[in-house]
């Protein structure tokens, strides 16, 4: 399985990561190695096998839609890199 620098840069873009050329090359090599390894799953016939998404059988956990106490605004904003006392502030988008 060959992973090209273009593929790495495409996937990195999807994941909102940027990489130097050296980083990208190392990542391509590791990804190739790992994808070649996981290809062993193709040895197994899984036709008709239901995929597992939860390890234990639980059904949807519904609850009443009640108003409950939440964190105060200043505590919620306290970790923000930039905020104005009411909102998180980010670079202009429009």
């Amino acid at each position: 399985m060959k992973i090209t620098p273009a593929e790495i840069s495409h996937v990195a873009g999807l994941a909102r990561l940027s990489m130097t050329r050296e980083e990208g090359e190392a990542m391509a090599r590791h990804l190739e190695e790992i994808l070649s390894y996981v290809a062993k799953l193709n040895e197994l016939d899984t036709a008709g096998v239901a995929p597992t998404t939860h390890a234990i059988s639980i059904v949807n956990a519904f609850r009443e839609d009640e108003v409950r106490a939440s964190l105060p605004r200043e505590k919620t904003l306290a970790n923000a890199p930039r905020q104005n006392g009411e909102s998180f502030v980010v670079p202009r988008v429009i």
């Binding site: 999807l14 990561l17 996981v38 062993k40 799953l41 597992t52 505590k75 923000a80 670079p91």
Partner: protein
């Protein structure tokens, strides 16, 4: 023995009888940390003042006879569980200055039981790793030989327990991250059944696999901590509404009538002979304690690592999308556009292993590859689960090594991620299938490094694990050995 070397169950009586105060005990542990921490490096954040305040409050309760079961017991906490007002970094630059506005439910429960929180301990960044070397703030060192890894990702938890830098610790386990460092550091570590302990406030890595649990000096302590942290939490929709037994109740029951299965696929090529010898010795003790030993088969064992290294990164790539520099964490403030801010903040904040896993996960979930990778892995996960159902129809417990080798030297495998991934082969299935599993010390390598024995049980059968582990511990009598040269 020095106060810091004692167990929870020994200290409970001393604290309740007022033979020692929680402040004296906490000071003794803080002094111990001051004496050995430059060699062990288990802590990312130490909070001596906060710990002494909590200890003073514990003393008041103990004096009034109203202390909870862990009242006055000093704990270290893996730096992935949110602690209100105490920095929680996940071993990452991206959260270097993150101070959670609330406690994880497991922390709330520890505090309700009276525990004293000493600080936050080292881990692989976002719990991704098996050596704790992926910690952005430097790796912890194995207390038995500080040139060696202490395992991971809960390496700081295991190291702090082994070095007596706490009385007990909480870690988390996504693919072996409690059991493997417990094995490498000669302490007891339990990954509970998925859903037994709330994940609320546990910073998510792979949500279908993550579970918090104790690392302790012996099996009784492990059961005591589980009594405190288990139970349904309405804030975690995957936590299970099921009565929590007193995990200490059946510790001393013998093993008569218990069937222990030996999965033949776990005694694999590449299994270190010293590990095999120690584990087989442990299994002999289980037989002598009354257990019947049977051979079982888990035919899909060889596929576990491949399934795990698709499922876990896929979930991680989604979970870690939240680190975008907006609400918390590192932000690159020089970026002019939102997209650049996301990209530059994430690229500067995440370390190489986290980036690698985000890439694997994003690739496996991306258009055109989903069926071939993520869906295929989830289907094989079902086959692995069926293996275990069949095995537990024939036995109560599975006994095996925790890891194929003892701990290796720091930096020995940093450029070879796949070989490190492969070392997780014996612990991963418990996470893929959601079953509980424990590591209990069973011997030492020739180089003097600890070796653990893993026991696995069907869902919600932690009591069986504790019973067998306790019997083994009593017979081997090595759990209380401590590194001599530290």
């Amino acid at each position: 023995m020095a106060l810091y070397g004692l167990t929870i169950h020994e200290l409970q009586a001393m604290l309740a009888g007022r033979h020692v105060s929680a402040v004296e005990l906490t000071r003794a542990v803080l002094d111990r940390i001051a004496a050995v921490e430059d060699r062990v490096r288990a802590y990312i954040t130490l909070d001596p003042e906060g710990a002494l305040q909590q200890a003073a409050a514990a003393d008041k309760k103990l004096g009034a006879g109203s202390g909870g079961p862990l009242c006055g017991i000093p704990f270290s906490i893996k730096d992935v569980l949110c602690t209100d007002g105490l920095r929680t970094t996940c071993g990452s630059r991206i959260l270097e200055n993150f101070v959670p506005p609330y406690d994880a439910t497991a922390i709330v429960k520890l505090k309700q039981a009276g525990a004293v929180l000493l600080g936050k301990v080292s881990m692989d960044e976002f719990a991704m790793g098996s050596t704790s070397e992926n910690c952005a703030f430097g790796p912890p060192h194995n207390p038995w030989n500080t040139a060696y890894i202490c395992g991971g990702s809960s390496g700081g938890s295991a190291a702090s327990v082994a070095a007596d830098e706490c009385i007990a610790s909480l870690g988390t386990d996504t693919g072996g991250s409690i059991r493997q460092p417990a094995s490498h550091c000669g302490v007891v570590g339990l990954k509970p059944t998925y859903g037994r302990v709330s994940r609320y406030g546990l910073v998510a890595f792979a949500s279908s696999l993550d579970q918090a649990g104790p690392l302790t000096k012996d099996v009784t302590d492990c059961a005591l901590v589980m009594n405190a942290i288990s139970g349904h939490d309405p804030r975690d929709s995957t936590s299970v509404e099921r009565e929590v037994p007193d995990f200490c109740r059946s510790l001393q029951d013998g093993l008569g009538g218990m069937k222990v299965g030996i999965p033949k696929e776990y005694f694999i090529e590449g299994l270190d002979p010293e590990v095999e010898k120690a584990v087989m010795g442990g299994i002999r003790h289980l037989r002598e304690a009354g257990a019947e030993i049977v051979e079982v088969s888990l035919p899909h064992t060889d596929y576990c690592v491949a399934v795990y290294y698709l499922v876990a990164p896929a979930e991680a790539s989604s979970n870690l999308a939240r680190y975008d520099g907006v609400r918390y964490g590192l932000r690159d403030t020089s970026a002019d556009t939102l997209l650049d801010m996301y990209r530059d903040s994430r690229s500067a904040g995440f370390g190489p292993e986290v980036k690698r896993r985000i890439l694997i996960g994003t690739y496996a979930l991306s258009s055109g590859y989903y069926d071939a990778y993520y869906k295929k892995a989830s289907q094989v996960r079902t086959l692995i689960t069926e293996d275990f159902k069949r095995a537990f129809a024939a036995c109560d417990l599975l006994a095996s090594p925790v890891t194929p080798t003892p701990a290796w030297k720091l930096a020995a495998k940093v450029d070879d991620p796949l070989s490190v991934y492969l070392s997780d082969i014996l612990t991963i299935s418990a996470n893929l299938t959601g079953i509980p599993a424990i590591s209990v010390p069973c011997g030492f390598s020739g180089a003097g490094l600890p070796i653990g024995l893993q026991l696995q049980a069907a869902h919600f059968n932690e009591e069986k694990l504790f019973r067998a582990a306790y019997n083994l511990e009593q017979r081997l009598d090595i759990s209380r050995l401590r590194p001599a040269n530290l």
